[in-house]
């Protein structure tokens, strides 16, 4: 995880600028294998991110396909100031915005990227800590049950994955968006802020709230607490 902080300071194209240039050139020459490689690499992630905004697999597929058409239309003018990846995903979020104007079921974008208005959201139920005025105030009264005895194959079981999916789907949209990009798709914080146009601080707060809730859901599932 700590290696990410170094990556965050570098310009976003620094990692694979050379590979991006070669790929864009191949696409502009009409090489099908380059386009197939791009589809394999990003289409599943585009659908995954689209599902954050539209919550319907068919619509998410349509948004991802419209994104590819937008990518082809825009590619001759791609200025290579951003990485190909962040550029493609920015097209996706724009497509989803357009979709949002047509589709009443789509989440309003004003709800995304911003901190929720409800202020403090404790990571752990305050009742699990000793109250103010008692000895050891604000330390655990009811500590978390260890997961050490949970076998690895149960952690990785399909049922556990389905449980995590449900926990993520239950999050407020802005938190679902960040945890999907950071933890499900494995992006670094610089990439996420770049695509969504949010500050590092907002991103970190939303990510922390999301992870804390998914941890709680997993704790309930794995150890019954």
């Amino acid at each position: 995880m700590n290696s990410e902080s170094a990556a965050m300071d570098a310009p976003e194209w620094a990692g694979d600028a050379g590979a991006d240039v070669a790929l864009v050139d191949a696409l502009l020459r009409g090489e099908e294998s380059a386009f197939v490689a791009l589809l394999d690499r990003f289409h599943p992630a585009l659908v995954r991110l689209a599902l954050v905004y539209v919550q319907d697999r068919t619509v998410a597929e349509e948004v991802a396909q419209e994104t590819w058409i937008g990518v082809l239309q825009g590619l001759p003018r791609f200025e290579r100031r951003s990485s190909l990846k962040t550029w493609i995903f920015r097209i996706l979020t724009n497509q989803a915005r357009t979709r949002g104007k047509r589709d009443a079921r789509t989440i309003p974008f004003s709800a995304l990227g911003n901190l929720d208005d409800d202020g403090a959201e404790p990571s752990v139920d305050p009742a699990r800590f000793r109250p103010e005025g008692e000895p050891w105030a604000h330390n655990w009264a009811t500590p978390p049950r260890s997961w050490d005895a949970v076998p690895e194959d149960r952690l990785l079981a399909q049922e556990t994955r389905a449980y995590i999916e449900r926990a993520i789907n239950a999050l407020p949209p802005s938190q679902r968006e960040i945890i999907t990009l950071r933890d499900v798709l494995g992006w670094n914080s610089g990439e996420v802020c770049n695509v969504l146009g949010i500050t590092e601080t907002n991103q970190r707060v939303l990510l922390h709230r999301a992870r804390s809730k998914v941890r709680q859901a997993l704790a309930q599932y794995l150890t019954g607490e």
Partner: protein, 83 residues
């Protein structure tokens, strides 16, 4: 008893992501690590947050459907990048 500069468990659980992201100010990082060093339940909690991140990264994506790929490839063949 705890001293006023010691980190409490309730404070620690709010700082886990900042700890992972390496964005805690040095003094808070030191307090965080001092607390983890002596608090088993918080070590459990930290390990659970790590597991949560790891398991979220195991969610699988469906590969692109062959018919979708074929349709997009047709679009690509008809695409005229020079225009």
């Amino acid at each position: 008893m705890t001293s006023p500069t010691d980190m409490t468990c309730q404070e620690l659980v709010e700082l886990v992501t900042e700890y992972f992201e390496n964005t805690l100010p040095p003094a808070d990082r030191e307090r965080f690590e001092a607390h983890i060093g002596i608090c088993g339940p918080c070590r459990n909690y930290l390990a659970q947050m790590e597991q949560t991140i790891r398991l979220s990264g195991q969610l699988t994506e469906e590969a692109i459907a062959p018919d979708v790929q074929q349709e997009l490839l047709r679009t690509f063949r008809n695409w005229k990048p020079s225009q």
